[in-house]
Structure formats: structure tokens, C-alpha cells
């Protein structure tokens, strides 16, 4: 059976055989950096195209279909255009912060890639506080957004950045509580442990209704955290032109755009890991034959399938729901999501203590 684990171990063995340990480690770091950068570039191209196609079909349109077969190379052409474009810096802008902001946002995305298990035993860094690391690092992206808004010397940018700050700080809470429910059920913060705990069934099935509620809360909260519609107040096109990235053009704009899609991918990957068992195949109780057939599908395919399903769900939200007002946004978080997630966490704790889950 095809396995990424075999490739990584053989590469590591070869490197340690050829070079001294320090060199080998450095080489591994370079390989990981190259792989993650190319994953980012690829994801940017694929997700932007997917978004445009999904949007078009939901709005009874066709979407891009001119460049390449079925419009496949549309995003490649767009990227080429963005590379060619001049990156303007507005007059009186804080040049240093202005240039730094897109890289901060991208860097947060790269850091979040570390603890994600892409396939069986295929993980950059299996840190034992993986979930804590993710929730800590993901809130850093607001710094990049505020930096961009402040440095642009533009009232729309600043307003968008401020909104984004309020939004991310509030929705971090319910996302954290939704993640905590799974931590309570598993009893571990390590992502590989969480995946292992779902060997005989994913948490969304094993955890009864509370897990389902936690999943819904998680999806709502991360939609808000990634600044996507219906929570895209930070870049509300109709009111703030483009919010914090109004003044950005060329490749700096492309980095912001890419970061948005990378963040979507990462939150969906984490959602898939926590609620849908990560790379774990679908196993149903004692159906031995069925479980065996499911085992034959490579674990990376399972992981990517689940992640892309969640990404599709978030895109579906974006193209169905209207945008919220700021007061509605904060009402939703503080009056509905937070009390419900607190109550839900209590329920899950009772279930975990009494051992009611399967």
C-alpha cells in the first residue's frame, strides 16, 4: 500500500547515513521549508479556483472557463499578472510596517502548518501541546492585520483592521471551547493522540450530540476568525472597499489573498483532525470487511478529502449567507455562541467522566 511514512523514513535514513547528524537535520529543515512553501503555492492556486467555481455554480453561473481546460489555469494566469504588477506604497504610509504586514500574516500560516498530521506518521512536529500551540499561534494573525490597517494611512484600512481585531478576539473564545470539548473527550492535547483516539469511530459520531454542537460552533467561529463571509466585516467590499488590504497591490496583495486561503485550509485541517479523525479511515463497529476496504484508501487521501469537504462547507456558507452588522456579529458571539459552548463543554465533561461515549 502507498504510504508517505516509508518515503520520509527512507529519506531520513539516507541523510543520516551520508552526512553528520547536524547537517542531516539542517537538510531536513530545508526540505520541510521547500515542501511547505510549495504546498502553500499549490493550495493558493487550487483553493482560489475552487472558490470561484463553487461560487459560480451556487449562483447558477459557469465560472472561469477560458484559460486552459475548464478554466484550470485561470489562477496561474492571475498569479502571473500579480507578480508583474507594481507594488505601490501609499504616500505617508509607515513603510516598514506596511511591507512587514503581509509576511507576518503568511508566517502565522506557516507556523500553524507544523503540528498538522497530513497522513499516517507524516507530521512536521508532533508537539505534545499541539492544540494549545494552534490556538495560541492562530491568534497572532490579528497582529499582521492590525499592522496592515495602521500602516496604510487610510481610514478604511484602519476601520477594517479594528473590526477584524474585535472579531478575532471574540470568536477565539468559542473556537477554543469547541476545541476543548474534543480535548476533554480525548484527554490529550497532542494531535497524533487525538487522531489515535478516533480509531474505532470519529468524535463527531462517538461524542453524541454535544460533539455535533461543538463542530457547528467550531465551524461558525473559524469562519469568523478567517474573516470570511458572512463575517467578512473586516474587508466588507461594499462599505470599506477592501478593509485592511485596500492599499496593497501586486505581490503584497497576493500574499494577503494567499494567507486567507491558507488559513481556511489550516482551520479546516484542524477541524477534520479533531472531529473527523484526521487521516483515520471510516470504521464502523464490527464490519470487518468494510473496515478492511476502507483501510486500502491511503491515509493522505482521507485527510485531504475531509479537509476539502470542510473547505467546501465554508465556501457554501460564504455564497449563501448575507453579511452581518458589527452589533449582530458581537451579539452572536457573546449572547449565543459563548453561553452555548460553555454549556456544551459542561455536558461533554459529564459524558467523559461517566464514560457515556463509545
Amino acid at each position: 500500500m502507498f504510504s508517505l511514512e516509508g518515503i520520509t523514513t527512507s529519506v531520513q535514513d539516507w541523510l543520516f547515513m551520508k552526512f553528520n547528524p547536524t547537517m542531516a537535520l539542517a537538510m531536513e529543515c530545508i526540505i520541510v521549508i521547500l515542501l511547505s512553501i510549495s504546498l502553500f503555492a499549490l493550495l493558493g492556486l487550487v483553493l482560489v479556483l475552487m472558490e470561484r467555481k463553487v461560487a459560480a455554480h451556487i449562483q447558477i453561473r459557469l465560472g472561469p472557463n477560458r484559460v486552459g481546460p475548464g478554466g484550470m489555469f485561470q489562477t496561474v494566469a492571475d498569479t502571473l499578472k500579480l507578480i508583474m504588477k507594481e507594488g505601490l506604497v501609499p504616500d505617508m504610509a509607515d513603510k516598514f510596517l506596511f511591507n512587514l504586514a503581509p509576511f507576518v500574516v503568511m508566517m502565522v500560516g506557516m507556523l500553524l502548518l507544523a503540528p498538522i498530521a497530513f497522513a499516517k506518521n507524516f507530521q512536521i512536529w508532533d508537539i505534545n501541546i499541539g492544540v494549545l500551540y494552534i490556538s495560541a499561534v492562530s491568534s497572532l494573525s490579528v497582529i499582521g492585520i492590525l499592522m496592515a490597517g495602521w500602516a496604510s494611512n487610510n481610514k478604511y484600512s484602519l476601520l477594517g483592521a479594528m473590526r477584524s481585531g474585535a472579531q478575532i478576539v471574540s470568536y477565539e473564545l468559542s473556537a477554543g471551547f469547541a476545541v476543548l470539548t474534543i480535548v476533554v473527550l480525548t484527554g490529550s492535547l497532542q494531535l497524533s493522540e487525538i487522531v489515535k483516539a478516533q480509531e474505532n469511530g470519529w468524535w463527531i459520531f462517538k461524542g453524541h450530540i454535544p460533539a455535533l454542537i461543538a463542530f457547528v460552533l467550531y465551524i461558525i467561529a473559524v469562519t469568523a476568525e478567517t474573516n470570511r463571509a458572512p463575517f467578512d466585516l473586516a474587508e466588507a467590499e461594499s462599505e470599506l472597499t477592501a478593509g485592511f488590504h485596500t492599499e496593497y497591490s501586486g505581490m503584497r496583495f497576493a500574499l494577503f489573498f494567499l494567507a486567507e486561503y491558507i488559513n481556511i485550509f489550516i482551520v479546516c485541517a484542524i477541524g477534520a483532525t479533531l472531529f473527523f479523525g484526521g487521516w483515520m479511515p471510516l470504521h464502523i463497529g464490527h464490519w470487518e470487511a468494510f473496515n478492511h476496504i476502507m483501510d486500502y484508501i491511503p491515509s493522505s487521501v482521507w485527510f485531504m478529502g475531509k479537509t476539502f469537504f470542510l473547505i467546501f462547507l465554508i465556501m457554501w456558507f460564504r455564497w449563501t449567507f448575507p453579511r452581518l452588522r458589527v452589533d449582530q456579529l458581537l451579539n452572536l458571539e457573546w449572547k449565543y455562541l459563548l453561553p452555548i459552548s460553555l454549556f456544551n463543554l459542561l455536558l461533554v465533561a459529564v459524558i467523559a467522566i461517566l464514560g457515556w461515549h463509545f
Binding site: 463553487v54 455554480h57 451556487i58 449562483q59 447558477i60 453561473r61 459557469l62 472557463n65 457554501w316 456558507f317 455564497w319 449563501t320 449567507f321 449565543y336 452555548i340
Partner: protein, 158 residues
Amino acid sequence: MFLKEYISDVVNGVSSLLKGMRKTGYYFTHPKEIITEQYPDNRATLLLSERFKGEVVMPHDANNEHTCTGCTACELACPNGTIKVVTKFEVSPEGKKKKAIDTLVYRLELCTMCNLCIVACPSDAIKMVPNFEHSVFDRTKLTKVLNQPGSKIREGIE
């Protein structure tokens, strides 16, 4: 009761959101609903709405006859001087003079497709047709004479 209201609020909200998602999900999974016309490719089979207003024309029948009496109602109705009616007097066999049109000049480049001339016409001599391929290199080509050469008014139209 507060708690009951709160729960019903949440249930109503979620169910209305799900209703919306069902509709968009239906559109996503049914490509036959797509209404995009791939214009230059499907020029032969292009579907345009009956009500699409693209150009004013004067329909003529098989005997090269129209129903325009030259009353200039369209010219008066037009808000930006698109239509110019040039009238002449025809002498009937009995020796009676009758007003008729010489030319009905229509300047497409000024027309806003407001449909007021069509509404104003008492004898339905002009109508809107869904033509939209109007681009030309020379703007004088946009000034059109609507009545065909040698055409005359149909019998019995006053």
C-alpha cells in the same frame, strides 16, 4: 419565559440558515439550472428575453407596407431627440392630399432604449427588437432610416 424564547430563537435561526443552504446546495448540484449564455460561441442558439430592448425597427409586411402615419408622436415622446420624422404629402387618386412619411430617421447612438416611442405610437408602426450587436467603426452607420425604400402606408390605416 426567557429560556424558551432563547432556544426558539436559536432553532429558528439555524433552520432558516439551513433553508438557504438547501436552496444553494440544490443549485450547486444541478448544473442544468445554469443560466450563463456563452455568447460568442453560441451565437446561433442565443436565447434572449422577449422583453430585451436593443433597437427600434419598423416592421414591414410582404407588400413592403408599414403602418406609420407620420403623426410624429414618437418624435415628441423621445426625451433626447433620437427620432426625426420627415413628412411629405401624398396626393391620392381622388385628388385628396394625405400626410405620409418620407423618412423616419432613427439615431441609435442617442437612443437609451427607454421604450417611450413604442408606447406613444398610436398605430404600432415601430417596435423594439432584441438586437445588440451594434458596434461599428463609423458612427454615421448608426443613423438609420427605418422605413424601407419604396414602402408605403398600408390601406385603411389613418
